[in-house]
Symmetry: D2
Subunit: 341 residues, 4 copies
Amino acid sequence: MLSFASDYVEGAHPEVLARLVETNMEQLTGYGTDVYTLRAKEKIRKVCESPDADVYFLTGGTQTNQIAIATLLEACEGVVAAETGHINTHEAGAIEYTGHKVISLPTHLGKIDAKELEAFLSGFFFDSNNEHMIAPGMVYISYPTEYGTLYTKNELEDISRICREYKIPLYMDGARLGYGIMSDGADLSLCDIARLCDVFYIGGTKVGALCGEALVFSGSKAPKRFVTMIKRHGALLAKGRLNGIQFDALFTDDLYFRISRHAIDMAKELVRVLEEKGYEFFLESPTNQQFVILDNAKMRELSEKVEFSFWEALPKDRSVVRFATSWATDKESIDELSRVL
Amino acid sequence: MLSFASDYVEGAHPEVLARLVETNMEQLTGYGTDVYTLRAKEKIRKVCESPDADVYFLTGGTQTNQIAIATLLEACEGVVAAETGHINTHEAGAIEYTGHKVISLPTHLGKIDAKELEAFLSGFFFDSNNEHMIAPGMVYISYPTEYGTLYTKNELEDISRICREYKIPLYMDGARLGYGIMSDGADLSLCDIARLCDVFYIGGTKVGALCGEALVFSGSKAPKRFVTMIKRHGALLAKGRLNGIQFDALFTDDLYFRISRHAIDMAKELVRVLEEKGYEFFLESPTNQQFVILDNAKMRELSEKVEFSFWEALPKDRSVVRFATSWATDKESIDELSRVL
Amino acid sequence: MLSFASDYVEGAHPEVLARLVETNMEQLTGYGTDVYTLRAKEKIRKVCESPDADVYFLTGGTQTNQIAIATLLEACEGVVAAETGHINTHEAGAIEYTGHKVISLPTHLGKIDAKELEAFLSGFFFDSNNEHMIAPGMVYISYPTEYGTLYTKNELEDISRICREYKIPLYMDGARLGYGIMSDGADLSLCDIARLCDVFYIGGTKVGALCGEALVFSGSKAPKRFVTMIKRHGALLAKGRLNGIQFDALFTDDLYFRISRHAIDMAKELVRVLEEKGYEFFLESPTNQQFVILDNAKMRELSEKVEFSFWEALPKDRSVVRFATSWATDKESIDELSRVL
Amino acid sequence: MLSFASDYVEGAHPEVLARLVETNMEQLTGYGTDVYTLRAKEKIRKVCESPDADVYFLTGGTQTNQIAIATLLEACEGVVAAETGHINTHEAGAIEYTGHKVISLPTHLGKIDAKELEAFLSGFFFDSNNEHMIAPGMVYISYPTEYGTLYTKNELEDISRICREYKIPLYMDGARLGYGIMSDGADLSLCDIARLCDVFYIGGTKVGALCGEALVFSGSKAPKRFVTMIKRHGALLAKGRLNGIQFDALFTDDLYFRISRHAIDMAKELVRVLEEKGYEFFLESPTNQQFVILDNAKMRELSEKVEFSFWEALPKDRSVVRFATSWATDKESIDELSRVL
């Protein structure tokens, strides 16, 4: 059955897979010291215009968030995130497992508001009772957000300025970074992100790789003994090549950006088709995830013809569902979807 | 200077201290195995009408919350609490430190609402995505709450029923339990609490002891190897007698209840005096903590004559402050306060 | 340069990689619910003759050890291992990171001794002070061990019997399981292992896969909410297919066993060549890892012609080094090695 | 029945208790900010000749070890201790609970050997595989040791020098510090200890207090936000006065040293009596703990007349038992013991 359930229903982009095949029998050193990994790091530094950035490859998004946050926070610090932030909702308490609190701020279609952030931080740092409280030690944002929305450059600049004023790192979860950067509405480049965030990751799993995320420390160096920390989290691959080769391919000839743009083009087609058929959108998303409101009866009927994701229940027997495109979505699938809608 | 800053500005109630002095040179076994500790446990079981309850003495409130919650939660569970719950605000992330999330519900003058709790629990348990989420594994309430308010018997029965329906323990933080039970408005006895909660603690530090809290497992037995768990948290006193003797004294001749009632009587005097002088209350509290709204100028002026606690800032240069009475407050202090107000 | 440095210098076995390529564009459900993963689980249950076993795929060895041990131990329990056990030496404290102690027993060429284990367990459980001590809650062994040695069936039966007597699970780290089972000296089949151990993992990373380990609960079911636990550790792959498809291939037509046997055949050639050239062995290993003693001068000279792993320093300017074969080693490499030795 | 079971069978030294009584109704600020606590800190700085030392009061030994070690270690570091160190044996895994490994060195009557320490540290720091290993980040010693033995000044100087060379803090567990310093054989003063260690604690629970340990950072400042860290561990007393007042008393007029010396005098009497009666000692201890070897039959017989502690089983139906004196032991008890031996 046709699936728009997520952007991870296929394997790897063929060019990525081809590189794994071509290099397969080469004898390479382990644990991320191989030439492909080093080359991929160099390419990422270059495309980010961050020649001094530390880059590490990890295997999945929750793992990357967990390791980045746990190793950057100090002992009595928590991470500030939107109430709807992935780390606060759908990562099974992976942050708390490392001993740190997720401090939630109100969500605005998935985003935090700079003014509310500033009010919260100044409230904390001027509270004379704060010795009994967890200090905000980091700000987490996602781009695109869990609702497919995007921060504008102005918004990110404001958040970045506040974080630097309070001397806490700004971290961006870029599980779908490509789909954000390449969307029509976006005014943030990868270089802007590298400049305005202190740490962020470039998602591979959802953007063309079998697995893998590139964690970039653009605003400072990685914590000391970072490889040991990765190992301690059980996240150090013996065959580090698996991630390295894939990212080497993704950052060759702009593949990452090209396939991201393709997903956006397909998302625009998807929106057009849904609009034509009179579907109601839950919110306006410029990225590859589209949130649609369905009557529950309609939802059940549709689910027999096409796969999508249930998102949340609404009053009056209605639901929000998600349709996602990806690098792998083709025009034929959209046409087929159009027929079953 | 006269202090109404908190209910822990004095040492122990004289009768409690006297028992420590009388028994001082007796040779007793360690780690809570002494006769006074055993006797205190028995007295607490009796007054709770819970003959099978496990009772353990710990040294402070945050420690007791941390150990009770960390040992009762299973691996992927969090504890549900009001946004304003002490564990969610002023315990320096002690719960998250043990790897567990505090899941917050809206606060209603410090209390959670049974309907909102039920909606949250049913929402979680019927969410097909819940494999990626922390499960609610316990409900935390405080009595009195952090705002001095009280659950009614009806309210507690509702919450208790919901917890049992969803098979998760109900835990009550009773740091000031005596001041709740003995207040004019209260319709919950210690036996009601033991019956409706699965676990709770009877606060000593703020109600007559130098230190010490009695953790009561009234709805089930304590986790296996509980003494080892206490030790692992660094909370097992070699001289367990310190807590045991104090609780033995507090539960002799209703001392705990008598001194709690005294604090309530003094709080009523305090309210009378404050009202006479035209002070505005932030909310209506039937217990020993009273929250008053002051202009910041007035607050500064008053703070030179009497100690109280700053609570939170309000708009327009106003603040909430707290005045607390305790077992140690006497009529003379209230009179003196009246003169400086 | 020719490398015998480890059994993870190449990518995946060609048949494994081919399956990834063939299935690449199929739309599959995420998080290990896809058909290939289910099929691989079924094949493993079958080859283990454990029709009720729970099987989960994880990505690396340290991750698998960490999750298996942390989720099976109770709160005040530690895991017993040989002093030289991988979890006690080269996993960067991944077990302690989860709050649990590794309790070490003496090593006998990498193995623990059943009698010493029994003495330790009986010593603990009959110690009246044990309330202040970490309880042994699991036994960890590796097969082959970190020194390439193997438990005999008799030895494993003894250890298994003791564990069951004391009611603690026996866990086997099978990072190189195939190379153990298929070695000349081995008298333990995969079924024996499934029967005598309660939990074990079948290593993929070092035996033909790009990544991936199959964790098998043969003696009991996996802990409740195990997928959530995996997620909480940051170890749940969105594209679970990556591990599932590889194990499906490895357990088709005995591929796992055939390629393991090939590595053993190559190891025998390696031993023959080393012996011919008069090299001294540190110990006798029947598996794919061979430990050789070299003068440091010789070690430096050799390291310019072939890659191997430094293992440990010996007195008098001598060192132990490791040569490893794998599924990927061919006769030509051995011949070439023979020329440079 | 007469008890020599431990040095914590009585309450507090009468002068300590008297201070608690005298100050009981004074209104004091909470959480360790009261005047008595500040004064006690100042007295300790003075007697240690460490005017810049940070001093904090905690409630028990395991708690103090846990907090000191967990807050001083960095993320991938463990603490080095003798195999018999209290943290490695009888603290219920409290260190591992905080995520850190206890790395054990051989024990020499409870002590570590400086040469072995140096060999271990240099071995680690020169191991090129150490990225996969826990780094030694601290050295833990106890004074007196768990076997009542003492480091000489030479020995401590050697260990201190090695720690400073490798830039890792030296931490001393001084649960019975007074009984060490005041013993006949000791050549280490409190000032020597403050100078040679970076952190240590002066035990109160076993030396005259109801509870309480003074943690002294003599070689550097306490970690940032240390009060918050104490709170996060559940170890911050609302009535910080409880510890502060006791230590103020203990360090007034050399009380701590006088009562410690008394325990040593009584221990010498104890040894004399035991020797007279022909008892065999397990080892020679110059401090307040004496370890005696008994036939098990004799042990059972004796245990009906006097309390002592079982320590460990020996071959041939014999056992090691411990007799302890304390500040509270009087000549009459020794005489009475003499009659029952």
